[in-house]
């Protein structure tokens, strides 16, 4: 059974549909890229998958041992975080929130997970540093470590390389790839960067006027991808 199955999903705001008739499924170990123009509803889809908003109609089911609160999330950075006084350790530890149930404090187990996640992201030496004083790439690693505290099964990444320079972008992609290949974590990633995104993904979901879901090879052969790549290329 697939980890995530989306059937006939219609989503949008205040009853106004942005995407309708969406069907796709994600298996354990998949690397799914969600591409599409600005305003095509990519982020709305991600918010719906995370239960931050409810779909207008249709269903989202998890299976294969995945619970809905076991999906890790790397959000786009919000304005609040930029001047927030918080140490890296505090931020990473807050990813364990879904693990503590009704308890008020984090226990030994959660702290161990946080330490392990920081090691995985190679940010252990930054643990006591202030989050807002880190570089963009380091901040993304911290947020990724936080997401890893929440899950070892599935990560949802919303534009993980937005605003990063090319070198750091490449590092970020290889980091995500490693999580996918070596740790077997399912990746769902929203990206503008079609070319780089496509390098690593095995499945593509294209949202917009035309919907497409299939393997990378099928996508590259489809007319949807050609139209999209052309317009994206024009902008760049």
């Amino acid at each position: 059974m697939a980890q995530l199955t989306v059937k006939d999903l219609t989503l949008g705001y205040e009853g106004k549909a942005i995407i309708s008739g969406l069907d796709f499924s994600v298996d354990a170990g998949d690397y799914l890229c969600i591409v599409g123009e600005n305003g095509s509803g990519k982020s709305t889809l991600m918010r719906t998958l995370l239960r931050l908003q409810s779909p207008i109609s249709g269903t989202i089911e998890t299976g294969d041992g995945l619970r809905r609160d076991e999906i890790g999330y790397l959000p786009q950075q919000s304005a609040v975080q930029r001047d927030f006084p918080a140490s890296v350790r505090e931020v990473v530890l807050s990813g364990c929130l879904s693990r503590i149930g009704g308890r008020p404090w984090y226990g030994k187990a959660e702290k161990a997970i946080a330490v392990e996640s920081m090691e995985k992201m190679d940010i252990t030496h930054l643990a006591k540093r202030c989050y807002r004083e880190l570089s963009g790439g380091q901040q993304q690693r911290v947020l990724l470590a936080r997401a890893l505290c929440a899950t070892r099964k599935m990560l949802l990444l919303d534009e993980p390389v937005a605003g990063l320079d090319p070198r750091v972008t490449a590092e970020m992609y290889s980091l995500i790839k490693r999580l996918n290949r070596e740790d077997g974590i399912t990746i769902i990633m929203i990206t503008h960067d079609v070319a780089a995104g496509l390098d690593n993904a095995n499945k593509i979901l294209h949202v917009g006027a035309e919907l497409f879901f299939g393997t990378k090879e099928e996508y590259l052969a489809s007319p949807v991808s050609r139209g999209f790549s052309a317009t994206e290329g024009g902008e760049a």
Binding site: L50, L52, R68, D69, S78, S94, W105, R129
Partner: protein
């Protein structure tokens, strides 16, 4: 020499004052309110809600005038629920509403202020007729009310403060999560709406308590100064919280003592001490960054 003699005389006077019940009551209540307001002040400032404190304090002023006119034995019985309801409404509309958050806060706050003063003027209340300006002044600037607390007020303040502090400690990690990244907290299964509601209610309670101390115009100072000062120097959430609590308690205690000694108004003295503290922390932050 005269200066030194003066100061030592002042200290002797202070020692004498500290024996008196009303000074001790003022200090106990002041320190507790300072502690509560600084703990939640950090969350409010970081969530960009600091203006809500200001708006709510005006609502509390309006409610208090109505309570006075209705001749309630204890003003808090009306002030507290009204302020809590407004807090909930304001935080609700903060996210999605026809009238945007800041505008609705300004509207409610100014409306409450205006209506409050109007009611005080037209109500046929014998006592406030004679000394209207004094009454308004003391509600707005809390001139002496902290020094005239009755034992019941003290116990009520102690009880409410204890509840606020316990809630803060129990929800500390969740408050951090919901303040740092609400979307992530909600994706982790946290009921962010519930926590925003709890924050709103607690802030309302703090504001009603703080009216006794600094009056409704100066409450924001208690909420904002400790948080901003701590954020100048410290970099982690926990250290900012601890520092702002210490800052707030120290400034408030000092402010009360100075005002008792020199007969200055309590609220404005505390705010003045807060400003000096803020300047010192800003300087310390700059120096720390240089080093």
């Amino acid at each position: 020499m005269i200066m030194i003699a003066d100061i030592s005389a002042d200290f002797a006077k202070l020692g004498e004052y500290l024996q008196r019940d009303f000074v001790i009551r003022a200090l106990v209540v002041g320190v507790l309110i300072a502690l509560c307001s600084s703990l939640f002040g950090v969350t409010l400032v970081l969530k960009r809600f600091s203006f809500i404190g200001d708006g709510l304090s005006h609502v509390a002023f309006g409610a208090m005038t109505i309570a006075t006119v209705m001749k309630l034995t204890n003003n808090m019985l009306l002030t507290l629920p009204v302020t809590v309801i407004c807090a909930v409404l304001l935080l609700r509309t903060g996210t999605n509403a026809k009238i945007k958050g800041d505008a609705s806060i300004a509207m409610i706050s100014v409306g409450a202020l205006g209506i409050g003063y109007l009611i005080m003027n037209i109500a046929p209340s014998t006592s406030s007729r004679t000394n209207l300006a004094g009454d308004v002044c003391s509600t707005l600037f809390g001139s002496t009310s902290i020094l005239t607390l009755k034992p019941f007020d003290v116990w009520l303040s102690v009880g409410l403060s204890a509840v606020v502090i316990v809630l803060f400690i129990l929800f500390y990690n969740r408050l951090f999560a919901v303040t740092f990244d609400e979307a992530f907290a909600r994706a982790s299964g946290l009921k962010a709406g519930l926590y925003n509601l709890i924050i709103a209610v607690i802030v309302a309670v703090i504001i009603v308590l703080a009216m006794n101390l600094v009056g409704s115009l100066l409450i924001s100072a208690l909420v904002i100064f400790p948080a901003l000062s701590a954020m100048r120097v410290f970099k982690s959430f926990r250290s900012v919280i601890i520092c702002s609590a210490v800052f707030s308690v120290a400034c408030t205690a000092l402010g009360i003592m100075v005002s008792v000694m020199y007969g200055t108004p309590v609220g404005s003295t505390i705010v003045a001490v807060d400003i000096v503290g803020f300047a010192a922390f800003t300087a310390a932050g700059l120096i720390k960054r240089r080093v």
